[in-house]
Symmetry: C2
Subunit: 248 residues, 2 copies
């Protein structure tokens, strides 16, 4: 049962490879992640690395899973501290945690939410689980508010969405929200990812925003408004007015 020296050495080498690969990813981006460079840092010839990693793609998958997991863990940890607070505060916490993690690990974020690495398609059986944790946490946040009757109604007639797909989500994820609720959950997610991505990738040019934090804070507030999240939790027996007064 106790691991042989060879097994312990192998486990250590596997950890080292991922550690070195993460460092290379952080400094040079996904495209400059080279097995040969990892081998050099490991003090070993390039072909030796293939004893541990089947290919460069498999190394990418390992990093992908690690990135998804780390982001989700970060978000979960942040949410723990505000678990008893109102919907809006918890959403802000989720959004800010995503942005902070993305800024601290830009190459990893790019790997998760940027252009897919060409010629590489992630093996779904390993990545979908960790890859959907954050959005499921987010959907659960909205679901809780919806069930408690705390979501303000959508200001408009909701266009029909992909109803059968939404039905499948309600079934598989045990959601109760109607099409409008699921629809604006995706709207909020798209806006959140879009805002983080735009800031991180500098899509507005380097001189457009002197205060990107202020922009993101306002975007979070506006997204929370579109979700209908109230500042403080309302007692569920109090019916929502059809036209709610301004928040705050």
């Amino acid at each position: 049962m106790s691991p042989t020296p060879r097994e312990r050495a192998r486990a250590q080498t596997e950890r080292d490879i991922i550690r070195i690969a993460r460092a290379h990813l952080a400094t040079g981006g996904a495209a400059s992640l080279s097995l040969r460079a990892v081998a050099r840092d490991l003090g070993v010839v390039s072909s030796a690395v293939y004893r541990y990693v089947r290919s460069r793609d498999e190394l990418l998958t390992l990093l992908l899973v690690e990135g998804y997991t780390e982001l989700a863990d970060t978000v979960d940890a942040a949410l723990e501290h505000v678990a008893d607070q109102d919907d809006r505060t918890r959403f802000y916490t989720l959004g800010n945690a995503m942005r902070e993690w993305a800024k601290s690990e830009p190459a990893m974020y790019a790997l998760l939410y940027g252009t897919p690495v060409p010629g590489y398609d992630a093996p779904g059986e390993q990545t979908t689980g960790p890859g959907t944790r954050v959005i499921l946490t987010f959907a659960d946040l909205v679901e809780q508010a919806y069930r408690a009757g705390r979501l303000a109604p959508w200001p408009g007639t909701t266009a029909p969405g992909p109803s059968s797909d939404y039905d499948a989500m309600r079934r598989d994820l045990v959601l109760t929200g109607d099409d409008a609720t699921i629809g604006r959950t995706f709207l909020a997610w798209h806006a959140l990812i879009g805002a983080v991505t735009a800031e991180l990738f500098g899509q507005f040019g380097p001189d457009t925003f002197s205060d990107p934090a202020a922009l993101f804070a306002q975007q979070l507030s506006l997204i929370a408004d579109t979700l209908g999240l109230a500042e403080a939790p309302l007692p569920p027996e109090q019916p929502q007015p059809a036209c709610r007064p301004p928040l705050g």
Copy 2:
């Protein structure tokens, strides 16, 4: 004045290089864009290509500018056909044109709005102009509706944004919208880019949406709602009710 045969040949070769590079970009993505492969298709040895293109990065810049220009031209052309229609229809047209173009040129879209190519930073003097055309068109659409008093009020207290940056935009771009209007313009843009990117990059997995077009259509509708765009243009002298009835 009339071009010499050599000049005409050079111009033709330059066009050929860009054409071949675009084909390679479309099939293999930005990372697999290789000057050597372009040279092979051109029927020439690799070093000869360096007579026309200073480096691979310069070729990327050429493609980047071409992509931005083509997307903006596509959007402008689509908007021309609906120039006299209501705000919401024009916004739908803009959004659908972006999605359609992105689906027809996924590698090019990835080059514009995906992960920045590592080690390459676009020369701003060449790319910012074409790169901002679409979002400026979009901002102008919102601005027109705002000036005409056709924007529904934002359902919530607007959090303060990056006011000085917004001031600079109002000055440089001749906008009149308040912070809430500019803020939700960016919200809509982030959601739009986020929705297109998520669909194009398959961020929700291959089996999550059987009808991505329906999802996008609903997202467009929801984004239009958050923008406060009305279905039909209202006469500007009619004041907006503080709590507008459902659209449609």
